[in-house]
């Protein structure tokens, strides 16, 4: 069992392959970021020695006067196996190998050499051909300059991806939508450490509640091992699979082979073991968002509250498209809500479900409707659609609804257009543990994630 702690909580880092002349070399970007921004001690390594940024450059990792937990290797692929061996000899804890030029360009031999060495010494390394690890504040091995990176807030969703580009894109989406991140790991060629290894690590990671994967494909039989481990995992797992359309087709000679294409099987097996499959990056985002707030599954009956009949109708359509039903509320439930609505709204609101409170609704009307639904047996989850343009709504609404819903065990999600001027209203929800989507579709997806999530 590999010990991955030095990769995620290093106390000292060596960046191997810095350039003495080119400050924009990826290794230099990594070194500068760590040197200036990380609480961890960082050392530069280049065979020529010398100095950069006023810091000594050590000719080899063994020359560094203290022990090194994490080595970030950014040398040319032909040199990487030797550098790895040097790290092992020097007692380094683990490495991320950023460099390309391995199996993906036909140099399986270089990659295999590193894997053999690493296995023999139980030395963990991520990559090669990857961005590596983003686990703030201690570790950021991404060679993206600090001023160009979009950073999500700290939170409890971990992202593991075979593609560095997709990973960074997802971080941008997280940041825009307000989804918090615990760790992001780009695994590249996954020569030694793959999704299964990271799954096992993240199951034990206290900071992580939701584990999300962007997967291009598994190696021989590795999909089986992965889903079996995922099936035992107490945390929700979200997977986005790339490459859904089949590539070249072998000559098909059985009906089963033709019906059970690679992606069809992938999708079916993931559902079989309770993983939540996202069909695209947008679903991935919404699923991660709601699963990071809620951990209870439920059965599919939705209550909708809205100040706009049109939005409510749209929401009902989207729910139907996902197989979520929006059942009619019983007379007593409707009456109970109606009697407590404010006088200007009472006569014009419709309450069958969706509940259309009209544009004259005030905070209290939303609260009354939400309370009614929280006690209604017909409904297991609630979507609140909010259009902050109405004069009756205040930025306290999130806090009020959250207070009321928290004890009921039913999930509540909200839709609020993500405009800067409504930031306070949105935060009123999020800081009170109600996830907010920037679209109606996203809000429905958040609810859908809970329905599909088996460990929940």
């Amino acid at each position: 069992m590999l010990n991955l702690q030095p990769l995620f909580r290093p106390e000292s880092i060596a960046v191997i392959g810095v350039s003495l002349t080119n400050d924009r070399h990826p290794a230099n970007v990594i070194f500068n970021k760590a040197h200036l921004r990380s609480p961890v001690k960082v050392f530069a390594v280049n065979p020529k020695g010398g100095e950069i940024q006023g810091q000594s450059v050590y000719p080899t990792v063994s020359d560094i006067p203290q022990s090194v937990d994490l080595a970030i290797i950014a040398v040319r692929s032909e040199h990487a196996p030797d550098v790895l061996d040097e790290c092992i000899r020097a007692g380094v804890g683990g490495a991320t190998i950023i460099s390309g030029g391995f199996a993906e360009v036909g140099r399986q031999d270089l990659q295999d050499r590193m894997v053999t060495s690493a296995r023999k010494s139980e030395f963990p390394f991520i990559g090669p051909n990857c961005l590596g690890i983003y686990a703030p504040p201690q570790v950021d091995t991404f060679f993206l300059p600090a001023e160009r990176m979009v950073r999500p807030e700290p939170g409890n969703v971990a992202l593991v991806s075979q593609s560095g580009g997709v990973l960074v894109d997802q971080l941008v989406k997280f940041a825009n939508e307000g989804v918090g991140l615990s760790k992001a790991i780009s695994i590249g060629n996954k020569a030694l450490i793959n999704e299964l290894d990271l799954l096992e690590f993240l199951i034990k990671d206290q900071d992580t509640r939701v584990i999300a994967f962007y997967i291009e494909g598994f190696g021989k039989n590795q999909g089986r091992e992965f889903v079996q481990a995922a099936g035992r995992c107490p945390k929700p797992i979200v997977v986005l699979k790339a490459g859904k359309t089949p590539g070249g087709q072998r000559a098909i000679s059985s009906h089963t082979a033709s019906l059970a294409g690679d992606y069809t099987v992938f999708s079916a097996v993931l559902a079989q073991y309770g993983l939540v499959e996202a069909k695209n990056e947008f679903e991935m985002l919404s699923f991660c968002e709601s699963l990071s707030y809620y951990n209870r599954s439920f059965d599919g009956n939705i209550g909708i509250i809205s100040p706009s009949g049109g939005h409510a109708a749209l929401a009902v359509d989207v729910c139907a498209g996902h197989g979520l039903s929006v059942p009619e509320l019983s007379e007593p439930v409707q009456k109970n809500i109606k009697d407590r609505l404010s006088t200007s709204v009472r006569g014009i609101a419709t309450l069958r479900n969706p509940i259309d409170l009209t544009g004259s609704a005030v905070d209290r009307d939303f609260a009354v409707a939400a309370e009614g639904l929280s006690r209604a047996k017909e409904v297991d989850a609630v979507i609140v659609l909010l259009l902050p343009y109405s004069p009756g709504i205040s930025s306290d609404l999130g806090a009020r609804l959250s207070q009321m819903f928290r004890g009921t065990g039913k999930p509540l999600v909200a839709y609020v257009p993500h405009l800067e001027k409504y930031r306070m209203l949105i935060e009123g929800f999020e800081f009170n543990q109600i996830p907010v989507s920037s679209s109606i579709e996203g809000a429905v997806l958040m609810v859908e994630a809970l329905r599909r999530c088996r460990p929940c």
Partner: protein, 213 residues
């Protein structure tokens, strides 16, 4: 040859506990006639040939053979088909046609499939897939997941099929397929005739892995 002949596949299936129709592999006309008598008309006739993988396309499947005279005629027709190695004479079955299959998936190993079968199977594309081995719970969700599941549960006065037999068959099939890991590329049982009296694999085919052909 990349696949196992039908009568041999049926022998393997029977040994694995999967019900197959009463059949005889008749290599000559006399044997065929005798088979017809033993089994009882009407019988089903299928050509056995290592060169024909899709028998229907070659005119190599005839249902409802009512008499010895018809059987003689069909045998003569079949003997002209490429690679002719005899005729399979089988009892006639009725019921709903399902497909049960298995595939050696690169990423997941043996996976099994159940769905609406028959010759239109790739047109309906109404199937459920699970990684083997499967449990009772998987069987329930696989059946419920078919668009046509109501047909199996008894639709418009029709008698429902024996679900327990189907469940047992799928579970046993999934275990058999795990034991065969590495020795097959894909397996088709199509059609599996399901009725209230049970499930019988009327036709079966095992495709061998490329490196074992």
């Amino acid at each position: 040859m990349g696949w196992v002949l039908e009568p041999e596949t049926k022998k393997l299936l029977a040994a694995a506990g999967v019900a197959v129709p009463i059949y005889r592999w008749a290599r000559n006309l006399e044997a065929a006639i005798q088979a017809g008598e033993e089994i009882g008309y009407p019988v089903v006739g299928k050509v056995v040939s290592p060169e024909i993988i899709h028998k229907s396309d070659a005119g190599g499947v005839v249902l409802g053979i009512e008499s010895e005279r018809a059987l003689r005629k069909i045998f003569k027709q079949f003997s002209k088909i490429k690679g002719f190695a005899g005729m399979l004479v089988e009892e006639t079955l009725s019921g709903i046609e399902l497909i049960v299959g298995a595939k050696s998936d690169y990423q997941f190993g043996p996976v099994i499939l159940v769905g609406i079968g028959g010759t239109g199977v790739e047109i309906y594309q109404d199937t459920s897939i699970r990684m083997a081995p499967i449990t009772d719970r998987d069987v329930t969700s696989m059946i419920k997941g078919l668009k046509a599941h109501k047909l199996l549960e008894g639709y418009r006065g029709a008698v429902p099929i024996d679900m327990e037999v189907l469940a047992r068959m799928l579970i046993q099939f999934s275990e058999w397929v795990m034991a065969l890991e590495g020795y097959f590329e894909s397996i088709d049982l199509n059609p599996v005739m399901c009725s209230r009296t049970g499930c019988v694999a009327a036709d079966a085919r095992i495709i061998l892995p490329v490196n074992q052909r």
